[in-house]
């Protein structure tokens, strides 16, 4: 009991000072509200921005997830160190390179080269110019995992014989005014007759992946596409690995194969790029972190501004209550107790501001969630943002309350008692 007495007394003084501070705040309502406005705004913006940002991040990541964690992309690139030695056309993926990857990269399950072209498309009276048409392989169906809602998918025979067949989506049916059951109909693609063999389902995609409003989609066998435009190139290839944990291996193996085929010396840069979904997610997370940090700096500045408001009002409070301080000192209050009283008051003020700010921020997030942006639907303040904003507010209270509190604690008791 005797050992704990000092601790108990400290707790008692602390609780007394907290009560005193609350009473002080209660007695000066308007002043308190005005003073803490800065803190309220700062905290509300932390909650709001962090909530929106993390909601967006979650939304985008979910979007990526939908894309598939097993997805691998590769394409030719021209790094600065290669400029002048090669042109961008020469670094594009070649058919033999695709074959070599297919053959040697074991951790890769499927691979599909993508050969883009832009052609005019005509059905009866309707002529559409410049329709993006993609030459694909049958593995595309499995990698993209898109259902064929009518007709059939591409088979190896279509590829081997470079048949004039195509798979389109519902948007294309609509645009070309095709009959609802379009399978078996013929269209003119770049002036040649193509038979529609399948209708592929339309996938809702977020705007950042070229979705939003659905585009007319037109797919033909890659061999047909190459015949149609011999001067084209493989824009990129996409594959799926057997196990998402193999991401690093897949990248390393593909890199190895391509470097070997392109005879790239060890000290030379890659003339291609291999990306797995995880890398893209990491990149996105980096961007999100930078955004969070920028916001953090802005919020910190507003907290400082709010803190200066607190300091100002605490200085007023100290000078208003000089006589009370003098009395407390005459009654034997240790200078540190006086210091603590005013520090606690500043901290309580800041925390009150933080509480209101958190409430305002949450209300704001409620509004954000109801905004017509799919990406912001998951907007919610993460626990760490709430804890951080409360912590920063308390720190601002201590930091900016210190000067007035020290001033109060150093007051001479007689001078303070005589203060008018």
């Amino acid at each position: 009991m005797i050992i704990f007495a000092p601790i108990l007394m400290l707790l008692r003084v602390l609780s007394q000072t907290v009560l005193l501070a609350l009473a002080q705040i209660f007695n000066n309502k308007i002043r308190t509200v005005l003073t803490t406005l800065g803190i309220v705004v700062a905290v509300a913006s932390i909650i709001l921005i962090m909530g929106a940002l993390s909601g967006m991040q979650r939304g985008v990541l979910a979007e990526f997830e939908q894309f598939g964690a097993k997805r691998v992309f590769m394409d030719g690139t021209l790094p600065p160190s290669w400029r002048g030695k090669l042109n961008w056309r020469e670094v594009q993926l070649q058919e033999d390179e695709i074959e070599a990857i297919r053959e040697h990269v074991d951790s890769l399950d499927m691979l599909c080269a993508m050969y883009y072209g832009t052609y005019s498309v005509q059905y009866e009276e309707i002529l559409l110019e410049a329709i993006s048409t993609v030459g694909i392989e049958p593995s595309w169906h499995d990698i993209e995992n898109r259902e064929i809602i009518a007709g059939r998918r591409f088979g190896s025979v279509d590829l081997e014989q470079a048949r004039n067949v195509c798979v389109i989506n519902e948007k294309a049916i609509e645009e070309l005014n095709l009959p609802r059951d379009a399978v078996g109909e013929f269209i003119l693609l770049s002036g040649r007759r193509f038979k529609i063999v399948g209708i592929v389902e339309t996938i809702e995609r977020a705007a950042m992946f070229g979705g939003g409003d659905t585009q007319t989609e037109m797919y033909i066998p890659i061999t047909t596409a190459m015949n149609l435009n011999p001067n084209g190139w493989i824009n990129f290839a996409q594959g799926e690995m057997k196990n998402p944990d193999d991401a690093d291996n897949v990248v390393a193996e593909i890199t190895f194969v391509l470097r070997k085929m392109r005879s790239i010396e060890p000290d030379e840069d890659d003339t291609f790029d291999v990306q797995v979904m995880q890398n893209i997610i990491d990149d996105f997370n980096k961007i999100a972190l930078v955004m969070t940090m920028i916001t953090g700096v802005v919020v910190l500045v507003s907290l400082v501004v709010g803190g200066i408001g607190i300091m100002n009002i605490m200085l007023v409070s100290v000078s208003e209550r000089t006589r009370e301080i003098g009395l407390r000192k005459a009654m034997g209050a240790h200078p540190l107790v006086i210091l603590m009283q005013f520090l606690v008051e500043a901290v309580v003020l800041c925390l009150a501001g933080a509480a209101v700010g958190i409430a305002v921020g949450q209300l704001g997030l409620l509004g954000v969630r109801n905004m017509p942006f799919e990406m912001l639907e998951g907007a919610a303040a993460p626990g760490w943002a709430i804890a951080l904003s409360a912590g920063l507010s308390a720190a601002a209270g201590i930091g900016f309350g210190m000067f007035p509190a020290i001033r109060a604690s150093l007051l001479n008791p007689i001078d303070a008692l005589r203060h008018e």
């Binding site: 000092p6 007394q16 000192k329 005459a330 209050a333 240790h334 007689i414």
Partner: protein
């Protein structure tokens, strides 16, 4: 010995004039002993140094020279933090203007010194109630200062001063803001406290109030000019004679 001071000096430096330091000697070598259970009045005109002496006795101010020991402890060299503890445990203050916290009840006001007490914070409320009953305000505990009369306010202040069982009760013009009826109230209260063994030092300029003390110390220009038991104090005896004469004359002049 409760209070023992030797050659106490308090010099205020007011800057320099024509190269010479300009200073005010508020206390100029005061020596004084006050025993336990004494009831002493310190008198003097304004500027005599009585308030300065009071502040130093109350450990609110530090002397610039001399020695002061309180209950055997030399306090003249203590730090302000150490003095805070001395004020809390050894000294009870009563101020001319009461100095009560306006927004708090009598009970809360009396509890105040115990918040800062290491020994008495346990059971503080009970002690505060006992102290209020002692000054006759047992039925006014939950009133705020603005709901109390001047005399009652000063009694709350006295209860607050006594609540930590101080070695000395220091009262600075305790009746200065009171009318004659309530002055009598407070004087009677002090008398009762003295009878129960409390050491009391009051500063006053009213002969009437000082007359209730058992000893009168008179200051002038920072020096003790007289120090007598009340019944031997020539100035006070003169005052009493004059007062008696006035009473007789008033009685004679009154219509029958």
């Amino acid at each position: 010995m409760t209070i023992s001071i030797r050659n106490l000096e308090k010099v205020y430096k007011l800057g320099t004039e024509k190269g010479k330091a300009l200073e005010v000697r508020a206390l100029d070598g005061v020596s004084l002993d006050i025993e336990e259970n004494e009831y002493v009045a310190i008198m003097g005109t304004s500027g005599s140094g009585k308030s300065t002496l009071m502040n130093i006795l109350g450990c609110l101010d530090k002397p610039t020279g001399g020695e002061y020991s309180l209950s055997g402890i030399p306090v003249h060299k203590m730090s302000s933090a150490a003095l805070a503890k001395v004020r809390n445990e050894q000294i009870g203050f009563v101020f001319q203007s009461f100095e009560l916290l306006a927004k708090q009840t009598a009970l809360k006001n009396v509890t105040l010194p115990m918040i800062y007490s290491r020994a008495n914070w346990l059971g503080a409320k009970k002690r505060a109630k006992v102290a209020l009953q002692r000054v006759g305000l047992g039925d006014r505990m939950h009133h705020r200062p603005n709901q109390l009369s001047g005399g009652q306010r000063q009694r709350v202040a006295v209860a607050r001063a006594l609540v930590n069982d101080p070695s000395i009760l220091l009262a600075d013009e305790p009746t200065g803001n009171l009318d004659s009826t309530t002055t009598d109230e407070i004087i009677a209260l002090f008398q009762g406290l003295h009878d129960s063994g409390q050491t009391i030092v009051i500063v006053t300029h009213e002969e009437e109030v000082a007359g209730h003390a058992k000893r009168i110390v008179r200051l002038r220009d920072g020096k003790v000019v007289s120090d007598y038991p009340t019944e031997d104090d020539p100035v006070h005896q003169e005052f009493l004679r004059a007062k008696a004469a006035t009473a007789v004359r008033l009685a004679e002049a009154a219509p029958a």
